[in-house]
């Protein structure tokens, strides 16, 4: 091996800065910052988030601006197909089975998504219905979450007999298919938005409670919680200071999974006819109305169906994205 010629200077001893070696080159990210960074990389989740924001904004704006009164009936305009002024494409030109359904009406009469069997503007009804469905989904999820988190923490934290009993209650509730429970509750309460929300919340919390309990059991044995207990902090304080922040990712993810489930339940109940009473529009009642004319006027089912599928899809994709972002195990 050829030995390179080196000047004596080359062999000067250098002192290495040990502090420099231990320095970590990349800035430290907190867990939630790291999660957000991962979430932002997930295109599907981010697009879903934007779609949800847009849908929410449009449905809220419909409180003040909607093409026409969603509950105004005009039997002269019943079952009109979609018509876009100036557009001559099949499905958008007001023709149905080769017949101009708008014939004899004024030029200013057009419905972008058509009308239903009572002549109500479908677009306006979809906007209002989406708002109602979102509202039910979010409010039901809020109650569901509150019950579930409290139940889960108490059960996991107290342990022992309390835990066993509380788990038995969960087992009994979950041994009846959840929708059957919802239906039974709706029979007892008066049908309406409040009872739907309560019924959905009453069955939905079980999943949340199970997740939270499992996580609480794990957290309970961790050093920082043990330390807080040894120092004599009260259980309630520990729950808020140490448990809830550490449970937050589970809560957020589960919330995103619960909202679409609640929207689905509402749609389901209205669809089988025990949901919201007429004339309230919701995605479920619209789908239910649309089903009646499915074979002749499929658009009456199709448009609300597209909205509910997009909503469910966006919530599910966002929830998936959040779960991947908050669960570093899935980082590859």
């Amino acid at each position: 091996m050829a030995t390179p010629k080196l000047s004596p200077d080359a062999f000067k001893h250098v002192k290495v800065n040990t502090a420099e070696q231990e320095r970590i080159a990349t800035p430290a990210l907190t867990f939630s910052q790291d999660a957000m960074r991962r979430l932002k990389k997930n295109k599907a989740a981010i697009i879903s988030l934007w779609i949800l924001i847009i849908i929410a904004v449009i449905s809220i704006l419909s409180l003040w601006f909607s093409p026409s009164n969603p509950n105004k009936q005009n039997l002269n305009y019943a079952n009109l197909p979609p018509k876009w002024p100036g557009v001559d494409l099949p499905g958008l030109n007001g023709y149905l089975n080769g017949q101009n359904k708008y014939a004899g009406m004024g030029k200013h009469v057009y419905f972008l998504l058509g009308t239903d069997y009572l002549g109500r503007d479908l677009l306006s009804r979809i906007m209002v219905g989406t708002r109602v469905s979102l509202f039910i989904g979010i409010v039901a999820t809020f109650f569901d979450l509150t019950i579930g988190v409290v139940y889960g923490i108490v059960s996991g934290w107290r342990g022992g007999l309390t835990d066993t009993l509380m788990q038995r209650v969960i087992e009994i509730i979950s041994s009846v298919p959840n929708l059957v429970v919802v239906i039974l509750m709706l029979l007892v309460f008066k049908p309406g938005m409040t009872s739907i929300i309560l019924a959905i919340a009453f069955t939905g919390w079980v999943t949340m409670a199970r997740l939270i309990r499992a996580q609480t059991l794990q957290l309970k044995d961790q050093e920082f919680v043990l330390a807080a207990r040894t120092l004599g902090e009260s259980s309630v304080k520990i729950a808020f200071k140490h448990l809830v922040p550490n449970l937050s990712s589970i809560i957020i993810i589960q919330t995103m999974f619960t909202i679409p489930t609640a929207i689905f339940f509402e749609a389901f109940l209205s669809y089988i006819g025990i949901g919201l009473p007429a004339p309230t529009a919701s995605l479920g009642t619209l789908l239910s109305d649309g089903q009646k004319n499915l074979q002749v006027l499929p658009y009456q089912l199709l448009y609300p169906a597209i909205v509910i599928v997009v909503l469910m899809l966006a919530f599910n994709l966002l929830a998936d994205g959040l779960r991947d972002a908050f669960d570093p195990r899935s980082e590859h």
């Binding site: 091996m1 030995t3 390179p4 080196l6 004596p8 200077d9 080359a10 062999f11 000067k12 001893h13 250098v14 290495v16 040990t18 420099e20 070696q21 231990e22 080159a25």
Partner: protein
């Protein structure tokens, strides 16, 4: 001695989100028939990647950018997937680190041990199971015949590692790659497994590459040792040369960090600092930032190998002509003195 395996100028990058990680940087070594070579280094030094290259089992994001791996004179890096499958478990076999996770939990151990035999030979399942029983006896599983139908969880960690070894040796491979086979085990079991490997080596006449981060384990099994640091081999030699005449400051660090009966101090030595980020390896000697003997040249230029004996080389500028004589750590000085007393005719390099 015939060389069974020659690794030449191997370079491997791993594609990551942050860019290519240069995991293996110019690694060359060879393995003779029937000998045991230990590769020593801390985690991340590239030792596991090296043996997985020999197995043809690199992760999908690994890219071999340069080099050859000659097994019996044939470059395995050029082999097709089919040829590699024929080689794996037949000519070259591997023993894994964690016996608790390396056996299929849902398959009986008899079947798992017989699998390589059935895969590479024309043999009936019944005969293969008979052979599996024989090999399980060989590796020290009591009542092997009665336990063929048992599942992995019914065995202890040490027993499971014996089963993993049985799987590796059932086809009498020419090379046995042992990737930290004792790390996950209790100290007493470690000694048993080392003993077992030696015994098997003499019985089936195989060559072993033994990977470990624990220099202490090496003395009991290896003929030669290669020390790896940050994707490079920094020193290699016979066991005695590495243990008593080490020349690289990193090897010194490893030796000092190893508790021995002679250890005087009540504190264990730890090499300061952490290995470099191989996303962006340093220009000079990768060990320089942690090296108390670092010199100006270390920060500028990577040291070449300097030959100490026909079997012993080290890549450190301390061996360059004109380099200053340094004061050795006491433990190393003690070892060098022992070496000098056994080899009075050799010139002392440092």
């Amino acid at each position: 001695m015939t060389k069974i395996l020659e690794v030449k100028d191997l370079q491997i990058d791993f594609a990551t989100y942050a860019g290519p990680v240069h995991a293996i940087r110019d690694v060359s070594f060879d393995l003779n028939k029937g000998e045991t070579l230990a590769i020593v280094g801390e985690s991340g030094s590239g030792k596991s990647v090296t043996v997985r290259t020999v197995m043809g089992l690199l992760a999908p994001n690994a890219k071999i950018t340069h080099g050859e791996v000659l097994f019996d004179g044939v470059d395995i890096l050029k082999k097709s997937e089919k040829q590699l499958n024929d080689m794996r478990g037949n000519d070259v076999a591997m023993i894994f680190q964690d016996p608790m996770t390396s056996l299929d939990p849902t398959m009986t151990i008899g079947k798992q041990v017989a699998e390589p035999l059935i895969l590479h030979n024309k043999i009936s399942e019944a005969d293969a199971l008979k052979e599996a029983e024989r090999v399980l006896k060989l590796v020290g599983i009591k009542d092997a015949g009665g336990r063929l139908k048992d599942y992995p969880h019914q065995f202890s960690g040490g027993q499971r590692q014996r089963i993993v070894i049985a799987i590796a040796i059932i086809n009498h491979p020419q090379i046995l790659l042992a990737d930290e086979p004792t790390t996950a085990l209790d100290v007493t079991i470690q000694a048993q497994i080392i003993h077992l490997l030696k015994e098997i080596q003499s019985k089936i006449d195989t060559s072993i590459i033994f990977i470990t981060h624990d220099l202490g384990v090496v003395a009991g099994i290896a003929d030669r040792v290669a020390v790896m640091y940050a994707g490079k081999i920094v020193e290699y030699g016979t066991v005695d040369e590495i243990f008593y005449n080490a020349q690289h400051p990193y090897t010194w660090g490893l030796l000092e960090a190893m508790p021995t009966l002679e250890t005087k101090s009540d504190r264990l030595y730890a090499i300061p600092g952490t290995p470099p980020d191989l996303l962006d390896p340093p220009k000079g000697d990768a060990f320089a930032p942690r090296n108390p003997y670092a010199m100006a040249i270390d920060l500028e230029q990577q040291p070449p190998f300097f030959k100490i004996s026909p079997t012993h080389s080290a890549a450190t500028w301390l061996l360059a002509p004109g380099a200053p004589k340094v004061e050795l750590p006491p433990e190393i000085a003690r070892r060098h003195a022992l070496w000098a007393s056994k080899h009075p005719d050799e010139k002392v390099v440092n």
